[in-house]
Amino acid sequence: MAAYIFRRLLWMIPVLLALAAVTFYLMHKAPGGPWDRDLSSRQVDPNTQARLNEFYGLDKPLWRQFIAYVFGDFKKDGTFACGLMCGNLGPSYRQRGLTIEQILFNPPEDKPIYYSRFGYSIRLGLLSLTFAIGVGIPVGVIAALKQNSIVDYISLFIATAGISVPSFVMAIFLIIIFASTLHWVSVVPKHWDQIRVWILPALVLGFGTMAYTTRLTRSSMLEVLRQDYIRTARAKGLHERVVVYRHMIRNALIPVVTIIGPAMVGLVTGSFIIETMFGFPGMGRAYVQSISQRDYSMILGTTILYIFMLTIANLTVDLMYVIIDPRIRLHD
């Protein structure tokens, strides 16, 4: 088991490197560069651009730049600046003087750490996850216990709709209803200190996961309901509440538990469209902005962070399955 985990973790290195290489190549291939300005504003003159390129090493061949990014590079004065392998994601080309880590993890002054971009995304993810699990599991359990009743059909329909209708279409519907028509919330709030403005984005973001949790809980409950040990539990005269809580739900929640970690990662990484739509000050919107600004190291750094989180989540799922279901074996 330990060997397996170790091997999987080791495998993450080539995976990360390969994906970083693809991203690196693609973004440098995209027309334009970090020094391009909006046509309406003052342009960076060619001499300055050349100086900037030299300073950041953008004048070197692509493969050389990539190696410099991953391992590090010697500066003009001979000091060695360590690259990705020391956890440095590089300097931002657009927000001068800031490194990618500072952009993502440093909060504004006098604010706690969860006011950083990463912190905002995590908070939104946690809120959506709480909503998804807090609604999804009870609804799934009730739907299964009352199978083929009207409650079951309604919750199943909502769950199916939630899984299939993409979150940004859901966001469009909700924005039109609650922001444009009813004026309950503003579409792009000025600041995010009020809890009220978090509701809509968290709801939209968590809806898909909520629907998925509902369906998973329901189907898993239905499978447990038909097990012999449930019949045994009833036959020996246990109170129905004990049967439901101790025998059914405990067993039925096993597959649900395995998805929580990945769901959280999915919510944090998958939020960039929602963040952009609501003007949310998180990591996702910064990422989308960095793409249009060709802020190379920001694109690469955030992508690597996303991929790192996703790989860890995938590994956790595989491990959880093995722990829970002894029939699944880990092969070499």
Binding site: T23, A30, S164, I172, I273, Y306
Partner: protein, 331 residues
């Protein structure tokens, strides 16, 4: 099942009809179960409806989607008496018009073309590649499996939307990006990422199947690996493959909509006779700019995306229930 008998009434037993029914193949039973599922029937009707729109778009759409109607811009849908901008609904433009006075209904009908085709063509590619690779990995095991699965790990690790965005931004201005109005690149990117899911499912299926007794039996009577793969493993994994296909299609439609919404994917067409003029994603992007004043421009394509995706999910659910052998004989 046909009648109940009370104990001791032996003479009745002789009168009982044999309960055996006509034998049907697994496939026939699955089709029957599928047609008994009301939700999947609704799904099929909706898919059929949109397929007709795709094929007969020029005949059904009241106007050409690129035709300007000067003086008729920003019209609300026909049933709205007076919209916020003081314009009145016109029955000639059922769903209203957009900023340039183009008929929203016609644009939505033409948009169905790309959205539906984006669902189908990459799915076909994905199925062929994913099944082949998944089956080889699962069946051969060992080093091949390790190699292929690590490769799928790499693909899996990529947040797919980020990959699409990166590819579409980077290769947009190359020759490959301008092929078929940019659709070719879109298909390619979609297929490149999504075959991994199919490969994983097929591999898992093959892994569990090849430990089963009937494969052991086939080996014992000397079946060749090729025979085992095509005669035993493939037919037995078809169920999950079909189900994955039914769920991949809506996923791709959504992806196209998101990419179009971000301004990637299809390039705007200028030729009114072109087959691919607009897509729902592009329409969503156009509608987004006027979300407060003209919500109908956004609602029409959004409802269409939701409907089609829901229909495919219903069908996929129905297929899964119908093809799951454990459901056999129930209801």
């Amino acid at each position: 099942m046909s009648a109940t008998t009370t104990a001791g009434n032996t003479s009745d037993i002789a009168k009982l009809e044999p309960v055996a029914r006509k034998s049907r193949s697994l496939g026939q039973e699955a089709v029957q179960r599928l047609f008994r599922n009301r939700a999947s029937i609704i799904g099929m009707i909706i898919i059929g409806f949109f397929t007709i729109l795709v094929i007969f778009a020029p005949q059904i759409a009241p106007y050409n989607p690129l035709e300007f109607h000067s003086g008729n811009d920003y019209l609300p849908p026909a049933w709205v008496e007076t919209a916020g901008n003081g314009k009145h609904g016109n029955p000639a433009f059922l769903l209203g018009t957009d900023t340039l006075g183009r008929d929203v209904l016609s644009r939505v009908i033409y948009g169905a073309r790309i959205s539906m085709i984006v669902g189908f063509i990459p799915t076909a590619i994905i199925l062929v590649f994913g099944t082949t690779i998944g089956m080889l990995a699962g069946f051969l095991g060992g080093r091949v499996d390790n190699l292929l699965m690590r490769f799928t790990d790499i693909m899996y690790g990529f947040p797919d939307l980020l990959f699409f965005i990166a590819v579409l931004v980077a290769l947009r201005d190359t020759w490959i990006g301008s092929l078929w109005n940019g659709l070719f690149l879109l298909f390619l990117a979609l297929a490149l990422v999504n075959w991994v899911g199919v490969a994983r499912i097929v591999r898992g299926q093959v892994l569990s199947l090849k430990e089963k007794e009937f494969i052991e039996a086939a080996r014992c009577i000397g079946a060749k690996p090729k025979q085992i793969m095509f005669r035993h493993l493939l037919p037995n994994s078809l169920g999950p493959i079909v189900v994955v296909a039914a769920f991949t299609i809506p996923g791709l439609i959504i992806t196209e909509a998101i990419l179009g919404y971000l301004g990637l994917g299809l390039r705007p067409a200028t030729d009114p006779t072109s087959f691919f003029i607009t897509s729902w994603g592009v329409l969503l992007l156009e509608g987004q700019t006027a979300i407060n004043a003209q919500p109908w421009m956004l609602l029409a394509p959004a409802i269409c995306v939701a409907l089609v995706v829901l229909a495919f999910t219903f069908l996929g659910d129905g297929l899964r229930d119908a093809l799951d052998p454990r459901m056999r004989g129930t209801k």
